[in-house]
Symmetry: D2
Subunit: 349 residues, 4 copies
Amino acid sequence: MIISMRQHATKEEIDHVCERIRDFGYRVHSIDGEERVVIGVVGTGDVTACLESLEATPGVERAVRISAPYKFVSREFKKEHSAIRVNGLEVGGAEFIVMAGPCSVESEKQIMETAEAVAEAGARMLRGGAFKPRTSPYDFQGLELEGLKLLRKAKEATGLGIITEIMSDRDVDLVAEYTDCMQVGARNMQNFALLKSLGSCGRPVLLKRGLSSTIKELLMSAEYVVAHGNSEVILCERGIRTFETATRNTCDIAAVPVLNELTHLPVVLDPSHATGKRSLVPALARAGVAIGADGLIVEVHPCPEKAVSDGAQSLTPAGFRQMMRDMAPYIRLWKEARAQSSTLAVAAL
Amino acid sequence: MIISMRQHATKEEIDHVCERIRDFGYRVHSIDGEERVVIGVVGTGDVTACLESLEATPGVERAVRISAPYKFVSREFKKEHSAIRVNGLEVGGAEFIVMAGPCSVESEKQIMETAEAVAEAGARMLRGGAFKPRTSPYDFQGLELEGLKLLRKAKEATGLGIITEIMSDRDVDLVAEYTDCMQVGARNMQNFALLKSLGSCGRPVLLKRGLSSTIKELLMSAEYVVAHGNSEVILCERGIRTFETATRNTCDIAAVPVLNELTHLPVVLDPSHATGKRSLVPALARAGVAIGADGLIVEVHPCPEKAVSDGAQSLTPAGFRQMMRDMAPYIRLWKEARAQSSTLAVAAL
Amino acid sequence: MIISMRQHATKEEIDHVCERIRDFGYRVHSIDGEERVVIGVVGTGDVTACLESLEATPGVERAVRISAPYKFVSREFKKEHSAIRVNGLEVGGAEFIVMAGPCSVESEKQIMETAEAVAEAGARMLRGGAFKPRTSPYDFQGLELEGLKLLRKAKEATGLGIITEIMSDRDVDLVAEYTDCMQVGARNMQNFALLKSLGSCGRPVLLKRGLSSTIKELLMSAEYVVAHGNSEVILCERGIRTFETATRNTCDIAAVPVLNELTHLPVVLDPSHATGKRSLVPALARAGVAIGADGLIVEVHPCPEKAVSDGAQSLTPAGFRQMMRDMAPYIRLWKEARAQSSTLAVAAL
Amino acid sequence: MIISMRQHATKEEIDHVCERIRDFGYRVHSIDGEERVVIGVVGTGDVTACLESLEATPGVERAVRISAPYKFVSREFKKEHSAIRVNGLEVGGAEFIVMAGPCSVESEKQIMETAEAVAEAGARMLRGGAFKPRTSPYDFQGLELEGLKLLRKAKEATGLGIITEIMSDRDVDLVAEYTDCMQVGARNMQNFALLKSLGSCGRPVLLKRGLSSTIKELLMSAEYVVAHGNSEVILCERGIRTFETATRNTCDIAAVPVLNELTHLPVVLDPSHATGKRSLVPALARAGVAIGADGLIVEVHPCPEKAVSDGAQSLTPAGFRQMMRDMAPYIRLWKEARAQSSTLAVAAL
């Protein structure tokens, strides 16, 4: 950490800052610039507490963090890309994993039809919400336990692994019983009570980036899960909120290689939420393969106009099939690149 | 709701859309424009489900909502500004309410000293976190129950009402036992499980706007609490996330009069989180009074540089006293305006 | 256009609005909803003036535009993808066009070396700034005329077409004399004086999206150039400004298929400015090919650390060569898709 | 400037960085941290070129600027608030200056009526556009020279100083002949050719913050004008672009005290563009007074619904009169505070 003092900071202020740094157990290394004094803080461990204290100390202009505040999830901690096992598959391994299914589980017919269609087209996991986070209290809130049971039934019929959203730390045990992977939605990315409880859920976690969360905050949230005991975390870029309204969100696709530099955790892309519009999904999905994501999570519904949620961004089974076909040569290139290096990510460094 | 069809939509597509609208129980009113057909959807009640369905229907270019998706919190539902009773005070009434205190409750000495200092300077409520949402799992997470007990002790000593943050639906009963007002933090504004559980907590709720939440989403979240049984909601503007980094957040101060037009709920301003910097707080607080907020929530710490969190944005007791003194003539103008109309808000319409 | 009246608008207000609409030459189609009156405005031509007037008229809550405000650049105006001829090439045609070169022209040695290196590696056009928009008045501002002459020299030596930035309507004739394509930088996307003057410059224009410009505003700026006489416009996505700071800008890659739906103009991607970081450029470039952009514009410098500008995001000649090699199979897939449909874009519809 | 090396940077890389720093004429001060080497760059003068070079140098993770890149406009350069003389008034002095008038000059009748009305209500300057930056090429583009002549006529009749927008460096002499203050619009804040030409225009310049410009970039653009010979610059906060759509822009009102800390230049607020909605203007204007802006620039039109531009955000003359009346006690408080310290700004430090 570097402390930049105000231009006319007094000697007393500078001495006091140095004393505070030593109180926190760090060493001081001070530089007298032509315009101001800059103080290096040398030592190991998380400097957040010291940084926050110094920001509030008289005479200090700015405190700049040099080392990243996350540890277990960083590439520096673990060089090799992590492959997370989910229902016998590896996300982050040698296969490109497509997860597909409806936004919400609505009925047995709907989920069974979708599961069969996406499995046949090449998906490896089934997504579907039983607990739904909805902006309006008057919208459909999910089938809850009934939905979880239908997902299990679809798994039994197709062999697809199940991924479904968990919305409250109260429901962790219940959801963990039925699903192969616990999804944390964008609006809960900083629901710290939930993140802590997922540390001991015994299931891998797919953590979606918050609408206005930075990449660093996404990594800090992943660090929460890991620090509480669960190192099986998959990250998901699903678009961020910007001024642009032509798409539902703005897909920050460069987050994929940025994450590959900063963390060993696998990264999947959600082209459905990123765009909010069915016609844009296949093009963005291709881009996701090309940029080196570890997989995709895509919304598919047997009859999008009758979907209780997210119909506009859901592919039909036929549309999904077509997309998978068009993506096949890109996935072949992906596999070749993956086979050559332990990961695309490491290759990029 | 208005449905705009694609330019070359077929007659079949148009007929199908009209049929879908009637299925949802609405009437159809179609306009043949020179370039495209536009269809008006006439009826009462929440149109969200119909809107989402039509957005996913072939031939539809865009569905535009005309009526607001919230109901109980709207000015149309209730013309008069709501005054929410908290510990004998009214937020939204004839007094301008200042809530002040530390980010986190750290120790008995710290909270008692702060409570006495802010009470003496004119604050009417004491803020302080017992459960803390922290970006890093390695940061101080709050004293929890011990913190709640210290807040109660501070209340007994000073008579100040207590406001503290609730982070999980698991803790609602516990926190409600100790506090006068339940604060929902920005990161939990769309934690719908939490919002639902606050519907029956028996305490007023202060709902902070999410970092990237629109004003409409803030109102929808308030609607959650109201729809689940608790109409005592106070809104809080605390800055949104933008590209600007000179301040911690960007204070969307115009949200105050916008909310006054759209809702009857009271609105307070948090100049501490909005700026993240102590020296900017007094100027923004004055602006908050002048623009017609119903109160302020401000961070104060006896020794900001020793605060475990948010020191850089915390005023010292002396700084807070000075701010309250400088604000006094503005608060007098506020009271005169408030006395003349039932609210500034209605005056603005 | 649709006019939504306030809930309690009076009959006089409604009549007055209808009268205003007829004054502008449009027909009125009114819908009495349960809660409010909605008025359809029927007719042809640009409704902007009428829309702005009605937004300011008493009783009106909101005016919603249904038809796009651009005309010549829209897909509705011209179905086929446009191929823009530049120095014998076609941008938007059957070839994927890579433009490469340094941020600034710095010296004869630098530009000649770069031109030869990028030509050999497969670039088809040479980029390089002679007039430089720099945030600081103390930074290098470009070699101006001398830079233009060096670009011409590099063209003579390599046959590469030249693209360089134009910063003022004063310099249009001068720059047009030396370059094959006029680049409008992001900061000038809404410099309307410049856009108008490019209508008669006799050269194709590459228009970069502004840092905070919507896709619609980009199209309106393109419409300026076309409406003033020059239909040869290439669009460029180069990242927008958001809250994320891990990259210099946030690449809105979905803008490529969105633009392909809305306009017939070709679209190129600038992965250098979009990321600001050399190590991220190749991955994003691959994604640009996969998503169906018509080309790339990439920064390359013989010795990035000695570049007077943008060194951090410039590839070395060796890095560029490697990127082109890795991109080759993706470009093959791009060509196959392009050959099958007149454009990828149309295929997506 | 501080250079943070990558964690495993080699000795050669570190030595090379030190050598580069010395090449630029600075001294090196290196700190061996536990995890990485951090290098302080000591010296005077603008470090931008060195910073950009080092960012592109192998082994470097990040270069952090410590000193601000602007000089003449900084508070460190000049402690006292600057008062800029415009037509006999001082912006930044002892009076709170209100500038008012229509978006566009439309006709003699319109501008004369408006000028008289705003003068009578207490405005001290008349705003009005003769050259209009419009998003669409089909919208009204201004009366140009004819508009400038009408503004002069209004000045002769009322004594109000004139402020009008300049859109191209071509028109500087023409506009300077007719106006008292040259306005640079938000879309031209980084039109560097224009900024340079204003260095010798002989008139004060009001520089509006760009839609997505940071406060630092605003100061850098002011520095352009000053560095090219004209130190008479007034800054203007007019709202920035964010995800919120309830208002036309998001007023970053805290930019006023932030600027007061960073620069000696006066700052005015534009509540009309900041909100885009007439009903919100008076409340935001009051907040602008309370937070310590040096003045306001407000849109007023005799008949907003017939305005050719910005009608929705224009006050009527009666609305403006009412606003000025309601603002009077706030302006009295402003004057008292201003009289006590040389500036509110300095008081805040």
